[in-house]
Amino acid sequence: MDRVPIAKIGPTLFVSIQIDLEDESVVQLQEDLADQLTATGASGVIIDISAVEIVDSFIGRMLTMIGSISRLFDAETVIVGMRPAVAITLTELGLSLRGVRTALNAEKGLALLNGTA
């Protein structure tokens, strides 16, 4: 199973998902992220899914869950770089990722977290 790396940049945790997500790796990511949030006290999480081409309802739900977990640590989650096809799939599945913010790319996501957007 591939692990998704988590990088800390300033007060933000940066997660770039470069692999096709399997259910296991998403669960692992959730755990890793919770650990990192506790360890670093980060105030924001950026999840870059620009390389993700396939999503299902489980992964959609996990993204929402990551948002909820981060909020417990008083960190805000921004999902960035979603592909149009992925957005359409999630909408058709009836998942609107409530409680998670979205941005077109990582730069705009960072600006959103820093309150400059």
Binding site: P84, I88, S96, L104
Partner: protein
Amino acid sequence: MDAYGGQGRMAVYLRDHHDKIVGRWAELVLAVVGGRLSLDEIRHELDDLYALLLRVMTQQDEHAMGELRATLDELSRSRARAGFTPSQTALGVFSVKDAVYELVADTADLVHEYLAFTRMVDDLGLRTFESYSAAREQIIADQSAAMMELSTPVVRLWEGVLAVPLVGTLDSARTQLVMEKLLETLVATGSEQAVIDITGVPTVDTEVAQHLLKTVNAARLLGAQCTICGIRPQVAQTIVSLGIEFGDIATKATLADALALALSNAGLKVVPA
């Protein structure tokens, strides 16, 4: 192929009178198509057909029937594209019977073979009908695809502000296309604001509203904000009486208002020069 056999003597007869029959056939076809094709053009087409017909009748080779059908299909397709009517197309084949009959009428011993010949021509005529309508359907499908492409433009109003002027009825297929195009353009141009103008949408029912909501939600997932504008008074009444909720999606009366909102969302301000 056996169905058309037993026309050996007929075939010999037809070959002997090649020029006469093709000439008469071409005249008959010319009368039907009404001056849209020249006699030479028609003769040229019929020469090919006639040669293939003879090959089928003499059963020289097994490819003849396939070639004849292919030639007929091609002929019907080009007729359909050129805007000829189905009768004009089919009569182009059927009139060979008249041309042949005029010659055979006096020759009593060929009548039996002539019947087999007409059966064959009838089959071929029906085939032109079929390929004609297939070609027509293809044309209609192409046109609706072209219209679909034309009717879903995504335009850039400002740096970071896109607009989708929707005209015509919104069905699932169109919404899908609009959604894909809008989302792709949002990503490609890095725009965070989109204005969906529904001035040209004649009716908004629950299904159309559902489609609009889906589009807005998908755009939101990308990190873009949508404003819906151009809701006409009657449409507004329908929406309210149907109990459709647009939720927290911004709606504005006119495109101008929506643009102003999009600009202010993008952190821009319009001031008098």
